[in-house]
Every structure is written in C-alpha cells, then in structure tokens.
C-alpha cells in the first residue's frame, strides 16, 4: 500500500476522532484522578478497640478534666470531661491539640547533653544513669564547697507533690532558692496576706455573681481557669452583667455588657474613685465595714480627699458620671464582684491596684459570700514528715534568697523570678552556680529577653526537665525529659481562682512514647544518690508510691473519678477568716500611692506598647501546637510577620499591612501595621505567644516575642513586676 499524504492525514485525524469518541479519554481521566489520589503515603489509620480514659490536662494552670478516646494503644482525641467541677465537658483550643504535643516533633526523646556551644543545638544522647550522675556530681561539688545556696530552681507551680518534692530536695540540700513562675496569683496572695492576714489562695464565685466589674482582666481571653471562665461568661449572658474597664477592645470587652475605655495604667485610681462614690453615698455594707473591718476611717479619709470622681476622670479619661453610675450599679447589685489582673494574668501587676480593687469587694461585703471573693485554704493533703537538715543544709537555708523575696525590702513576697536575671547579671547577691527548670520556660516568658539570655549564659550549669525542646531547654546544658502529661501520674490541686478546694489526678493515658522519666522519680534518684539526710527525706521507692501514700484514702476515688471535692467545704464566716491582729478585715490603702511609671520617655517614644492575650495563642511554658497556630487570624500573623494593632488615628501614614519598625527602650523589631478601631489612639498592641525560636517549624520564627520589647518594672511594695506597657515608636522600615 502506498502511503500518501492524504491517507496519512486520514489515518491521524480519523484515529484522533475515533479515540475521542471512544470511552478511552474518560477512562484515562478517571484513572489519572484515581492514580493521583491513591498514593501509598496517604495514611490509612488502623481501626481497633475503642476505649476512653479520664485524666487532667496540665498544659496550663486551668486544671480541666479530659476524656481521651483511644483506639487500641493510640490516643485519638482529647475531649472535655463531663461532670468535672472545672470545665464540665468544655475544652479549650490548646487542650484539644494536646496529642500533637504527645506525638509531635518537639518532644525531647532521650536525655541530652550539650555538645556544642550553648543554644547551638548540638546534643549528645546520654543514658539516664549518666544524666543523673552528672547532676549528682555537680551538686555534690557545690555542697562540699558550702555553695549549696548557689543552686536555684524555677518551677511552674509550688503546689502538688512534684513541685513539693523539688522544694523539699532544695531544702535538705541547702538552697533557699525555689522560685515559682510569677502571675497574678502572687499579687492576690499578697493582697490577702495584707488585708486578711491569711496565707491562702483567692477564689471567685463567678458562677453566682450578678455584676462583674473587671479592671482589664481578660476574663474570656485566658484569665484564671480559661474554660471555666468562658462557661461563667455564658451564665452571665443569661443573668448578670459584666463591665470591662480596658483601653483596648479585647474579646472580654466585646462580650461585656459595657466596655469602659480607660487610659492604661490608671485602674487603681478608678477603683478608688468608685470607692469614693460608694462611701460618699453610703452605699457600702455597714455591717461588714462596722463590725468586721479595721482601718476604714483612714481609708475613707484618703479616698474622699484624694479620689473624687472629677479629679480621677482627668487621669483615667472615664467621665465622672460614668464613675458614679459604675459605683451605683456595683454597690446596688445583690452579688457584685470586682476583679483585676491584666490580660491572662501572667504579669503580677501593681499591688496598690490589687488592694484598691479588693477594697471594693470589702466595701460591698462580698468577702466569703455567695457570688463573691472566697478565701480558699491551701491544700493540706501533703503531710510529709518534717525534713531533718544537716549543717550544710541549714547554713544554706539561712542565706538570703537570690531574687530578694522575703528580704527587708520585700518582706512579704514569696517569689520574685522577674528580679532573677538582674540579680545574676549585676552580681549584687551571689552568683548562681546551677539552675534547674521544671514546668517553666523562663527564657521565653520572662520580660527583657536579652537580659534573661545574658543571665542564663552566666550560670555555668543549667538543667531543664522539659518534655519539649523549648527555648529554655535549647539554652541548657542538660535535658532530662519528663513524661508529657498524658504519660504520667500527677496530682493537680485546686486550679487558680476556683472557689472550692478540689484535687484532681492526671494519669497515664498511653505508655511513655520515648526514653523519658517522671520528674518525681528523677528527684528521688538524685536524692538517693546523695545518701545521708538528703536520702532520708525521701523514704519512697518511686514517685508512684509517694503519690499513693500522700493521697491516702483519696487514691481509689481519684483513680476512678479523676477528681475529689471537699463536700464539707463552705466559705468562712466573717471574722473567722480574718487572721490579722485585730481579727478583722484591714483596709490598708492609707496614702495615695504613686501610679506605676512605665519605661521610656514621651519625646523619643510617642506611643505606648501593650500586650494582649488571645485564647488562640498559648503564651505560657507551652507554645502553640500546629492546630492552634492554624486558628490564628491573618490580622495577627501573616507568613512569618506579626501585625501590631494601631488605631487608624495614630497610624501616621502607615497603611494597613505596611511594614514598620517597632522600637522600645528594650529593643526594635520588624512588624506590620494593622488598623484596629478598638484600640485607644496612642497605643500599639502586640499579642503574646508568638516569636518562639525553639519548638518545631510550625511555630518557630513566627512573629515577635513581646518580652523582647519590655522589661520588668518593680512594684514599690512587693517587688513584683508591675509593668503594664512600655513607651514605643513606629518608624518606616
């Protein structure tokens, strides 16, 4: 057959037309869609037997009950525990993402020893025996040279058996430097100590309050026990009013019945002006004031002389008529409640402000009353025998604390972590030779990151017990990874702000995934290696034995139900709960205290930078897991860049999304500008919880850590950090 051009073209075109009319194209399309989808790397999760395990989430101090769904030995999902007194089924965004921490890439999988320079990220894997031997060797050397007091320990909490074991070890070893991470808990403890003469925690009967006056507390932005607060907020929607006093429209302000915009840092003056109106109009609870309080006359005189609403309205920017109406509605409600503590309550704040707000509660007589402020005794189930100290230990314990807590200057304050970096850098007391960190991430969470890093570099031996490669672990010499909360037993006493004493038990949901060890067991092993008095103070074979003995007859109930409540607990009766010399509540604000002055001068820094908190940004010792960072809005984080909120009025030519340099006396960072009408002109707001340098690639290097831009400002009475902001400026990038 002759192949000519015509027949060739006929064949090609005919063939093409024929193929096109056949089912082949459709078949190929179908196949290609199947083949591009059915790759073996799309995981097929294994099915199996479903079970549920109850436990407690300890990712924040909230202490929520959780129920973990399991398939065979895999944990599949964390859900809120129905019936738990804190959260009753609800759960927050961080708690829901807990499994990403358990199975995630941020875990420290085995004990590590630093191999390169500090923070370089070079590690050598070592055995547990070797890791513990290293610690014992170092601590032994220090003790021999009578330097035991030069050891310090930073802990996320001072309650519960694990932190008590840490504290106990430090005592018998001979160091007074057990330091709890700061929060509003410090300020509230001190307030109760000064006004009620008690060592107790504060509890708020939010669920029964019908008028909540909040001085900048981010009640639904993570303050207190976050899920409980959000639940309480829903109750207030049905019956109750909330007034939020804040210079920025936070979520709490937006959800409140009334938002009162106030000049930042003037909350104490406003509280006292409200007290002025209450006293002047005789709206206070006469029974309480007359029969159960002391110092009222002096307080009254001070408040009437110094804080009349007209003067205060000049300072606060809140009109005198608003002050008056706030006072009337507060005092006129049947169960009013005043709270303070900025944002999520991670900064202790001005003691003067705490006492002023607390005085409001006293004036309306809601101390230890339904819907009011309750005195919650510290849990007393940990009844271990007194420690016996040898000479070295008692010598060490008699030395002054490195952070200045309990000193002549700050006699009533228990812990002052924010002063530690400066104490180390200035060398005013003594050097810290060894630093232990448990349940905390101070390199990230303490203000003035530069000073903190410098201080860390001055400490020759830093040990982290973190389960995750956080900033502190990354800057340590030795990491002894603890089990994560889903792998370990731990008692969780009454969470912050809860009005009733409870004990919950966090228990293993899955077997330890890696070569980690319970911190409790590590402390016991270290103590036993020392022998002598130190070993004698720890008569338990393992942490589990210690916990079981400590909880005694509550153990079985806790294993079954996860929590134990004191059914006999009732708020104290007036008079009974006050342990001041007069056995009465004491109004202590006697003279006009100066407001806290923030760093920076107005000429160079025309704006004021303030932090804000969001439930979607974990800002404590845990960083956002992938699910949580995914929920962050693109008006907060875009790519790796953080957006700062500025009122369009004070944006000075910066358009939405423009790049800018944000500088404060502490540092400068690159940011983008976001116009927000909810923020007071003259302010810049930056979210807390971003700017991590450690963790995984889902979180690291995104945005800016607020602590790089601010330093602590010491409260004159307590020494606690009272910085509520810092002067700042925005310049062209």
């Amino acid at each position: 057959m002759k192949v000519c051009r015509r027949s060739f073209l006929s064949l090609i075109i005919g063939g093409a037309a024929g193929t096109a009319l056949s089912p082949l194209p459709l078949k190929l399309m179908d196949d290609s869609s199947i083949w591009t989808q059915m790759w073996p790397w799309t995981p097929v999760p294994e099915d199996g037997e479903v079970s549920h395990v109850g436990s407690i989430c300890t990712l924040c101090p909230g202490g929520c009950g959780i129920t973990v769904r399991k398939v065979n030995d895999r944990a599949i999902k964390i859900e809120g525990m129905k019936g738990h007194p804190v959260n009753d089924g609800g759960i927050c965004v961080l708690g829901l993402s807990g499994l990403q921490l358990l199975y995630g890439p941020t875990r420290v999988k085995t004990p590590l020893k630093r191999a390169g320079a500090r923070g370089e990220g070079k590690w050598e894997k070592i055995s547990w025996d070797k890791a513990i031997a290293e610690i014992v060797k170092k601590l032994g050397e220090l003790r021999e040279k009578d330097k035991s007091h030069k050891v310090a320990c930073i802990s996320g909490t001072d309650r519960g058996t694990v932190s008590q074991l840490l504290g106990r070890f430090l005592t018998v070893y001979g160091s007074p430097n057990f330091i709890r991470v700061p929060s509003i808990q410090d300020s509230y403890e001190l307030t109760m100590h000064k006004m009620q003469g008690v060592q107790a925690s504060v509890g708020f009967d939010f669920e029964n309050a019908d008028f909540v006056l909040s001085f900048g507390s981010g009640l639904i932005d993570g303050w207190g026990s976050p899920v409980r607060m959000i639940k309480a907020n829903s109750k207030w929607k049905e019956r109750g009013k909330v007034v939020q006093i804040e210079s920025r429209l936070s979520n709490t302000a937006a959800k409140a019945d009334k938002w009162v915009a106030i000049n930042p840092g003037t909350e104490a003056a406003l509280a006292l002006a409200i007290a002025n109106v209450i006293i002047q109009k005789s709206l206070y609870n006469t029974d309480f004031v007359k029969n159960y309080s002391s110092g009222f006359e002096e307080f009254k005189e001070m408040v009437l002389n110094e804080f009349n609403p007209d003067d205060v309205s000049q300072i606060t920017g809140v009109s005198a008529s608003t002050i008056e109406s706030l006072a009337k509605s507060f005092a006129g409600s049947s169960k009013p409640l005043a709270v303070c503590g900025q944002g999520r309550g991670e900064t202790p704040g001005s003691l003067n402000e705490f006492m002023a707000v607390y005085a409001l509660n006293a004036l309306v007589g809601n101390i230890d009353k339904k819907g009011g402020v309750w005195t919650v005794p510290d849990p007393d189930y940990i009844k271990w025998p007194e420690v016996e100290m040898d000479r070295t230990a008692s010598n060490g314990m008699h030395k002054a604390r490195i952070d200045g807590a309990g000193s002549k200057r700050y006699p009533d304050t228990r812990y002052l972590l924010d002063r530690l970096p400066n104490a180390i850098n200035s060398g005013e007391e003594y050097p810290v030779e060894a630093l232990f960190v448990a349940g905390a991430n101070p390199v990230y969470t303490i203000p003035d990151s530069k000073a903190v890093k410098e201080a860390f570099n001055k400490v020759p031996f830093v040990v982290s017990f973190s389960s995750y490669m956080d900033e502190t672990a990354a800057n340590s010499d030795l990491i002894l990874p603890n089990h994560v909360f889903l792998e370990r037993y731990e008692d969780v006493p009454t969470p912050v702000g809860l009005q009733k004493p409870i004990i919950s038990l966090s228990k293993p949901v899955v077997k330890p995934q890696f070569n980690t060890k319970h911190l409790g067991d590590v402390i016991l092993l270290i103590a036993k290696s020392f022998g002598g008095m130190i070993a004698k103070a720890f008569p338990w074979d393992s942490y589990e034995v210690c916990l079981k003995q400590t909880l005694g007859n509550k153990w079985d109930k806790l294993i079954n139900d996860v929590f134990w409540t004191d059914s006999n607990f009732k708020p104290a009766v007036w008079g009974g709960s006050f342990n001041t010399p007069s056995r009465k509540f004491k109004f202590v604000n006697k003279s006009k205290a100066e407001p806290i002055k923030i760093e920076g001068d107005k000429q160079t820094y025309p704006l004021i930078l303030m932090p804000y908190n969001s439930m979607r940004l974990a800002s404590g010792f845990i960083g956002d897991p992938p699910f949580v960072i995914k929920t962050v809005e693109d008006t907060v984080l875009k790519g790796k860049e953080i957006l700062v909120e500025v009122n369009p009025k004070s944006a000075r030519g910066f358009r939405e999304g423009d790049q800018a340099i944000l500088s404060t006396p502490k540092g400068s960072v690159k940011v983008r500008v976001h116009h927000f009408n909810g923020i007071m002109p003259g302010l810049v707001a930056l979210p807390r919880g971003l700017g991590h340098t450690a963790y995984d690639e889902y979180l690291a290097d995104k945005g800016v850590n607020f602590n790089e831009l601010i330093g602590p400002v010491e409260d004159p009475v307590s020494g606690l950090n009272a910085a509520w902001g810092i002067r700042a400026k925005l310049t062209r990038a």
Binding site: D30, T36, Q37, W39, W41, T42, P43, V44, P45, G48, V71, R74, A75, I76, K77, E79, G80, N87, G89, G90, I91, C92, V93, L96, S97, L99, L102, Y103, G104, P105, P226, I230, K231, N233, S234, K237, L249, N251, A254, K255, Q513, M615, R616, P626, F627, V628, I629, K630, T631, E633, D634, K638, G639, N647, K649, F676, N677, I679, M680, P681
Partner: protein
C-alpha cells in the same frame, strides 16, 4: 437516596450558634481538625488555602473608638437544603461526589469520587469548601493520633464539614444493635458542639419540636426554614439557599452583617 426511609421520619440536622455567647476562642476549629483528621501545613496564614471545615470569622461594626465592636462568627458547612435539596454545590457537581441526604439533611462529600474540578467551591456562597492543593503530611509519628473513623484526604480533592457524619453512623449502628431506629438528641452531636466551652453551639434535628435547635431557632418550614425567633438569622438568607445553620445575636448590626446589604438599604427582612 431520593426516597425517604420507610420506617422513620426524615431528620433535618441543623445547628444554632449563639453569637452572644461565642467568645472566638477557636476551640470549635481545633475540635473539628482533631476529630476529622484535617491536615496542617507549616504556614497556615494564607486563609485561602488553609483547610478549616469550621472557621471562626471576626466581624466589626465599622465604628470608631470607643464605639467599635467586634463579634465572632463560626462558619461550618451550612448544609443548604435550598429548594428540595438542590444545594448550590450539589447541583453543580459533575461526579456526584457531593449529595443531599434526604433522611438527615446532610450534604455529603465523597472524597474518592471527587476529581477536583472545584465547581462546588465556586458555587458555595459560604466559602465552606476547601481544596487539597497538596498531599497531607504529618510529621513523623504524628499519624498515630489519626482517627480511623474519617479517612484522610489526598491531594486533588475537595473537603468540607460533614456535621461529623461518622458520629451519626456510629450512633445509628449502636441504636440498631439495641433494636432502635431513632436516636436520642444527645446521641449524635458534632465535635464542635461537644467542645465549645461557652455552650454556644447547639445541634439537633430541626424537624423535631422536642430538640433544642428547633425550639430556639423556630424554623418556619413552610417558608424555606426561615427563623421565627427575632434574634435568629441565617447567612445570606436572600440567596434562598435555605441553610441549616442558624445564628443568634441580640445585636442588630451583627444580624444585618449576616446578609449583603447595600449601605442605605432599609431594615432586615424587607426584600
């Protein structure tokens, strides 16, 4: 599934979200991702390709300080019934990968049928549908938490909120084993409903007058399910998509923001 099941009354599962209670905490978003094996990438700040079956939007009233106000609005799939089940996405799907179930009122999504033409995404007025531009990647070891009840998706398919349909299947299985054909209200609840710390999300059968959703939203079934509760509204009501997600707000500006109004148009409802 065009026919109703012979022995049971058709359900119309729907949701009521109380925007006065919603605090914008994001728990519903994470609860959804954890329940439904939703993947994540290193950067999720481009919200156009960030897969969030449930997404919480933030609304502002546009006023200046200090009159400014914000309101959060969680947006799952609306499971539109439209007219007779002709949801916008269902009618355009060339692969029958998405379908309106007349027994439950749930709009399904069958990943293995979907060939990724994304017509449904264009048709959905709520941006509730997401395309898998990439294969999902879980960091080493993290596949351990994946749930066997929901198949992980692959590159090239569209996915969206299913009202946690697998939970319905599990609850029905259990009921059948126990010899029942009907579910109690609390037997089938979505993951976001269960997690919401504010109790702002309520889920149930809009056809069942005993269920909280129908008591609160008071849907007028004769008029396309429009809510009779004056505080209730649905998103883009005027499109006639007849969505099964109702919102509650005591603030008028929020209710008005639920539809596209021209600036000086009159009050809500007169169209």
């Amino acid at each position: 599934m065009k026919e109703q099941h012979k022995n049971t009354k058709a359900k119309k599962y729907g949701m009521v979200i109380d925007l006065d209670k919603c605090t914008g905490c994001g728990a519903c978003m994470a609860a959804c991702m954890a329940e439904n094996n939703v993947p994540f990438k290193k950067d999720e700040s481009n919200k156009l390709d960030s897969i969030t079956w449930m997404r919480v939007y933030s609304l502002t009233n546009g006023k200046k300080f200090p009159e400014a106000d914000i309101c959060y609005i969680p947006r799952p799939c609306m499971h539109c019934e439209a007219h007779n089940g002709h949801a916008p996405c269902v009618s355009v799907c060339p692969a029958t990968a998405t379908d309106y179930n007349r027994n439950t009122g749930i709009v399904s999504q069958i990943y293995t049928r979907c060939f990724g033409c994304r017509y449904c995404m264009a048709a959905c007025p709520y941006h509730a549908r997401y395309f898998n531009w990439w294969d999902p990647v879980w960091p080493d070891g993290m596949e351990k938490y994946l749930s066997p009840n929901v198949s992980p998706r692959m590159r090239g398919v569209v996915e969206k909120c299913s009202f946690c349909f697998h939970r319905h299947q599990l609850a029905m299985n259990k009921a059948y084993v126990e010899g029942r054909r009907e579910l109690e209200e609390d037997e089938y609840q979505t993951s976001c409903t269960q997690a919401c710390p504010a109790g702002a999300i309520i889920f149930g059968d809009l056809n069942n007058p005993g269920h909280a959703v129908s008591q609160i939203a008071k849907p007028d079934h004769k008029h396309g399910g429009r809510p009779m509760n004056p505080h209730a509204f649905r998103l883009l009501e005027r499109l006639g998509t007849n969505p099964k997600v109702y919102y509650l707000s005591s603030r008028e500006w929020v209710r008005r923001a639920g539809d596209n109004y021209i600036k000086d148009e009159g009050k809500q409802g007169n169209h």
